[in-house]
């Protein structure tokens, strides 16, 4: 049998039929649904008189619009409230499981899928959300789709797809202290560019990737889309199996044992060929900070904001000038001289228990700088509860952070958590696009550790030289 990549194995297992031109009807195992990209899909079903083919393969949760403050008051914004009640109504009408805002299991859709054991290795998983790539951390082929495709999956449990190309991104060696998977993925995007992965599914390999926790792998795969790749993959191993085991909705007993042997076989065969291979050395990676208006505009924490005058290429120079004008940054200044007004620790990239533990270590016994407003938004109700059980909420509160209810929050600022024009934020989220966190807001993407240290100092610091609190 020909050698296959991990991607090819999963893809081939999900082909329902293939046309001579390669157009494939691909079966979808799991469908995650949230309030923003689904109302028009359900409306489409209604208009066509269609029902979901397998409603039990889907799970819905409101996350983008939910308030992160006291929820007993309901939702102040009537548009947000309508979108969420519409989701609830649609789920009731079409028989789809729904975790409401008051449910402890509610949270960011890409946090709760793995948390509940809905995300399993070898699956195809889709959601009307580009950060569906997160679930690739489990060796599942997971990618974001538009609303028409949400409707398509609801109606048929399939999608029409063309086989993407494959890319291996190998990170060998060891990562220096104080660096995390967030720094690795930002460094990758800095190297290949925000369109570098377009048309590809990426498999991350190498000893650095293998050393990551499941949370770390999720952060990595989450931002595959910021390099243009719809999906990222890490092959399942014993760590994956241990994470999945005993989750509320994962398989149990004999079925689990059968699944486990299947999952551990999901590896790229020796000799299998990728269409493209990128290599990075772990030891070359430093803590990363974005300085511009897309995630590829990134540099080392001890580096400088680029000086447009020194960029010979006209298009690149103009794009840099435009980004720096928006960001309100002079060219050439050291990253560590950039002061921040806000710090946001949260989002589907970095809101899991491990992220909160790391950030808490950096702020314990310290206090947020006077000029900074900082908040922590856990990824789910269960993450929040676990963090509170470990006393992390107390560490954050005592350090001057706000401790919020779970949701997407200021990653995209659809709820009330918004930057005001000109405000500058160190954010553990995934996008620093213009206006992403609020019109005129300025976003710098960093790891949880870097965000925590910036909150304390009021500007970016090289955490490798920074004296941490009581460890």
């Amino acid at each position: 049998m020909a050698s296959k990549t991990l991607f090819e194995k999963i893809w081939d297992q999900h082909v329902v039929r293939e046309e001579p031109d390669g157009t494939t009807l691909l079966y979808i195992d799991r469908h995650l649904v949230h309030e923003v990209t689904s109302p028009q899909a359900f409306e489409g079903l209604r208009l066509a008189g269609r029902r979901p083919r397998r409603p039990t393969a889907a799970l819905a949760v409101p996350d983008h619009n939910v308030p992160t403050t006291d929820r007993s008051q309901g939702i102040a914004d009537p548009m947000s409230a309508l979108q969420i009640s519409t989701l609830e109504g649609n789920c009731a009408e079409f028989g789809i499981t729904y975790y409401g805002m008051e449910d402890i299991r509610q949270g960011i859709v890409h946090v709760i899928g793995p948390e509940q054991g809905l995300t399993l290795p070898g699956m195809t998983i889709v959601c009307g959300d580009s950060h569906t790539s997160t679930h690739g951390a489990f060796g599942a082929l997971a990618f974001g789709i538009g609303t028409s495709e949400v409707e398509h999956v609801l109606a048929t449990q399939c999608l029409v797809q063309k086989r993407p190309k494959t890319m291996e991104i190998r990170v060998e060696g060891t990562l220096p202290d104080y660096c995390s998977s967030k720094d690795v993925i930002l460094a990758i995007i800095g190297q290949i560019g925000i369109g570098g992965g377009t048309g590809y599914v990426v498999e991350y390999t190498g000893s650095v990737i293998r050393s990551f926790s499941m949370e770390g792998r999720m952060t990595l795969c989450n931002m595959s889309i910021e390099a243009g790749a719809r999906a990222g993959l890490v092959s399942p191993d014993e760590l994956t199996v241990a994470y999945v085991k005993n989750r509320p909705l994962s398989p149990k007993e004999e079925v689990f044992q059968q699944a486990k042997s299947d999952w551990l076989a999901l590896k790229t065969d020796p000799g299998a060929r990728f269409d493209k291979v990128i290599e990075l050395r772990g030891k070359d990676i430093s803590p990363q900070v974005t300085w511009g208006t897309n995630p590829g505009m990134v540099t080392d924490v001890n580096g400088h904001v680029p000086d447009p005058a020194s960029i010979p290429d006209e298009k690149l120079r103009m794009a840099t000038e435009r980004a720096l004008a928006y960001m309100g940054l002079p060219g050439g200044i050291p990253i560590c001289d950039i002061r921040v007004d806000r710090v946001f620790i949260g989002s589907c990239t970095n809101s899991r228990i491990e992220d909160l533990r790391v950030a808490a270590r950096y702020v314990k016994g310290k206090h947020v700088a006077q000029s900074v407003k900082a908040m922590v938004v856990p990824g789910s109700g269960l993450v929040k509860r676990q963090a509170e059980g470990e006393g992390l909420d107390r560490i954050f509160r005592e350090a001057g952070f706000e401790w919020r209810e779970p949701g997407c929050s200021m990653c995209l600022a659809m709820n009330a958590d918004v930057l005001t024009p000109g405000e500058r934020c160190a954010s553990t989220s995934n996008r620093n696009f213009e206006g992403r966190q609020g019109k005129g807001g300025r976003t710098h993407l960093v790891s949880p550790a870097m965000a925590a240290a910036a909150a304390v100092e009021g500007h970016f610091v090289d955490i490798r030289d920074w004296k941490m609190g009581d460890q």
Partner: protein, 211 residues
């Protein structure tokens, strides 16, 4: 979905690379539960300058582009969020075709779901088009999907590629779900086989959810 066959229309220029869908339609317009009426949000944050005044240079604010049906732009158009509100807003404004050197995957796919044709042309052709648009009032080109050719008023013709399935669906304005449902027996057979091979994929978790 509206079919796309041959389109002759005015070209509106958007001379920026890596335009993300957060710019095409900012998040405050995503709270709708409908797919119409989104043109108000199209490039909402780019229409106005920091002081709130309309940016007269932005294409949407120029009278000559009010009837534009073709958008000319740069590489990696539509990157970022999967929001289909982006093509909905473009369509609502009247755009039926987008010409660029490259597109982000999810956006590219979303276009075809909405009767919009994304056309990829080489960077030098794109540059030629930008130059012509800058020097011609109401510069118009013709896009022929069946022939896969863009024809300039000066007579030059540039061919483009796209896969045959998408082309066929767009030419005929086909309902993708209806097409897939024609293969329902194949889907059922697949499910039966997989439920045997990998039963954990077919466990009904919904019953355990409320326990």
């Amino acid at each position: 979905m509206q079919a796309f066959t041959i389109l002759t229309g005015t070209v509106a220029p958007l001379n920026r690379g890596n335009v993300d869908t957060d710019q095409i339609i900012p998040k405050q317009y995503l709270k709708t539960i409908h797919r119409t009426g989104l043109k108000e949000g199209l490039f909402a944050d780019w229409r106005r300058r920091a002081d709130g005044a309309q940016d007269p240079e932005f294409f949407i604010n120029q009278p000559c582009y009010q009837q534009a049906t073709i958008l000319l732009t740069r590489e990696n158009f539509g990157c970022g969020s999967s929001r289909e509100h982006a093509p909905w807003a473009l369509l609502d404004y009247g755009i039926r075709c987008i010409v660029a050197p490259s597109f982000a995957d999810i956006f590219y796919n979303n276009c075809f779901q909405n009767g919009i044709l994304p056309v990829e042309l080489p960077g030098e052709v794109i540059q030629t088009l930008f130059d012509r648009v800058a020097h011609t009032d109401q510069y118009q080109v013709t896009v022929d999907l069946a022939q896969q050719v863009v024809t300039l008023p000066e007579g030059e013709k540039y061919s483009f590629t796209l896969d045959s399935f998408r082309k066929d669906c767009l030419l005929k304005g086909l309902d993708g779900i209806g097409l897939t449902l024609q293969h329902e027996s194949a889907i059922t057979a697949y499910e039966k086989r997989r439920a045997h091979e990998a039963p954990w994929l077919f466990q009904d978790f919904s019953s355990s959810v409320h326990s």
